[in-house]
Amino acid sequence: MDDSIILVVMTPFVGAYLSPLLGLWRERLCHLVAVAAALLSLFFSFRLAGSVLTSGTIRYWVGGWEPPWGIELVVDPLSAFMCLTISLVSLLAVIYSKNFIEKELPGGKMTSYYTLILLLIGGMLGVVVTGDLFNLFVLTEIFSVAAYALVAISGKRGSFIGSYRYLILASIGTSLILLGTGYLYIITGTLNMADLSVRLPAFYDSWVVFGALAFLLIGFGIKTALFPLHTWLPGAYSIAPTPVTVIFSAAVSKVGGYSLIRVLFTIFGLEFITDLVPVAPALTWVAAATILVASMFAISQTSLMRMLAYSSVAHIGYVVLGVALAVEMGMTGGILHIFNHALATGCLFFCAGAVIYKTGIRRIDDLRGLGGKMPLTMAAFTLAAVSKVGIPPSAGFVSKFYLSLGALEAGEWIFVIVILLASLMTAVFYLRVINLIFFGGDKHEGKVQRDELPLSMLVPIIILALGCAVFGIFVGIPLRLVEPAVMVLSGM
């Protein structure tokens, strides 16, 4: 069996266990450990992706116990795709943290910060590779606890409340997930996803299955921040340290979406969610509402971070919309958007963080004329914003293209209109910011020196920005994993 599958999870965890020990000795070592762990995770993710592409779905029996008695880890193309996205974004975020955290976090918290961020990464990777429902719950809890703490870690005004709200809402969610798991267990007697999907059809008419589906949907819907369960998100995103926000928007909410996909497609199956209980069609409407409402909120924001947070909510809507359309093109678009949106939103949040790091500016109006002061950062911001708006040939455009095709393929005209409308709305708020940045005159004449960021912050920004452009043109690269993922999900 391929050990990468467990190592990809255990590397961040072991790094996290080591961090407090090293932190007692030299705090700075924690950063190195975190970078090393994230790098190794990325390496193992690549190995996983390679072996998935050559030999198909990989299964790994932890402890040597065959499923359903032991815990089975499963990596199919979708998992490998998520692994790559998560570990890439995490690596960049950890690198970015070096200078940012030294400046922005009060002293003595570095150890905890890196410990938590490694737990966050490990938890997400664990969720993505697991093939066991209860294990999914446990790992969701790991990264959730780390996430709550990372929201509060800065100790700034509002951070505790943001964290508390997130915790309470998400705890309701995870409790319901556990309950749903219990429901599935009582009628099937198993916790293994593959086994569940085999045994469930016999109980399709039972309220127990319906209840389980409802609770799992609510639970993961909260994690994914679907409207109207998104209320925790803007507060949490705008207050967390920037690298964490990047991981949140690019990975955490996507892991929620991933869990949703797993539950809907792998456990319940395409037929159940589209025909027997029309969950998927309902979800498309929820997603459309998420897209429009969040875009509307984004327009009215005055804080850059909050605007980006709402925009992030809207784009999660795209992902869910695409997948819930349950047609090939739509699912391709949705899953591809997980990656493309991770690139764009990661870059945007990184840039916003860089602005805070350099100038302390958080309000959009104060950005006026920063283009001349931080040209590289702002160019990257523009590139990423273009990708988010979906102007070709950026990565965002490709996913938008597939989503629209998917909506047409499913015969749902209305969603094409939603996508177009949302694009226009996104354009409204991003182009306003870009206009201010580059053509808004200079508000900081003399106050802010023209200088760029430290390399540890600039490099992640530029990598992501280039990614937005490159993957808009060379779409084939991510699609190599996305296409088989769609095949596996739709059972072809």
Partner: protein, 116 residues
């Protein structure tokens, strides 16, 4: 008929009621500590449900004794043990947050905090 159903499935129904009480506390109650108590009630209700699932008429506790053949299902017990630890983790962190919030704002009323 209904009475019989209630009598047979009493633990499940208790767990349902506890769950609703817990949810009520989490959503409607405004005191932050009460919300956390609600979280605890909510999670114990799920644990009660899982333990009830594990129960088998005439089963013995799942510790092997040579003359006993029928044991209750050990798997949910293991799950619940994990769940309890998770709940403890959440509770402790939420309580620290509560203290911090009280230090910052001087109140534990979620409505007043919302206005701030």
């Amino acid at each position: 008929m209904i009475l019989e159903f209630i009598a047979v499935n009493f633990p499940y129904l208790v767990s349902v009621s506890l769950l609703l009480v817990g949810l009520y506390a989490m959503i409607v109650r405004r005191n932050l500590i009460k919300k956390i108590m609600g979280l605890n009630i909510l999670s114990t209700s799920v644990f009660l449900y899982l333990i009830s699932v594990a129960y088998k008429e005439g089963g013995a506790p799942p510790i092997r004794v040579s003359e006993v053949e029928v044991y209750v299902n050990p798997l949910p017990h293991a799950l619940v043990l994990t769940g309890i630890v998770v709940a403890l983790a959440l509770t402790s962190f939420a309580l620290v947050l509560t203290i911090k919030i009280y230090k910052e704002y001087g109140t534990l009323d979620s409505d007043k905090l919302m206005d701030l």
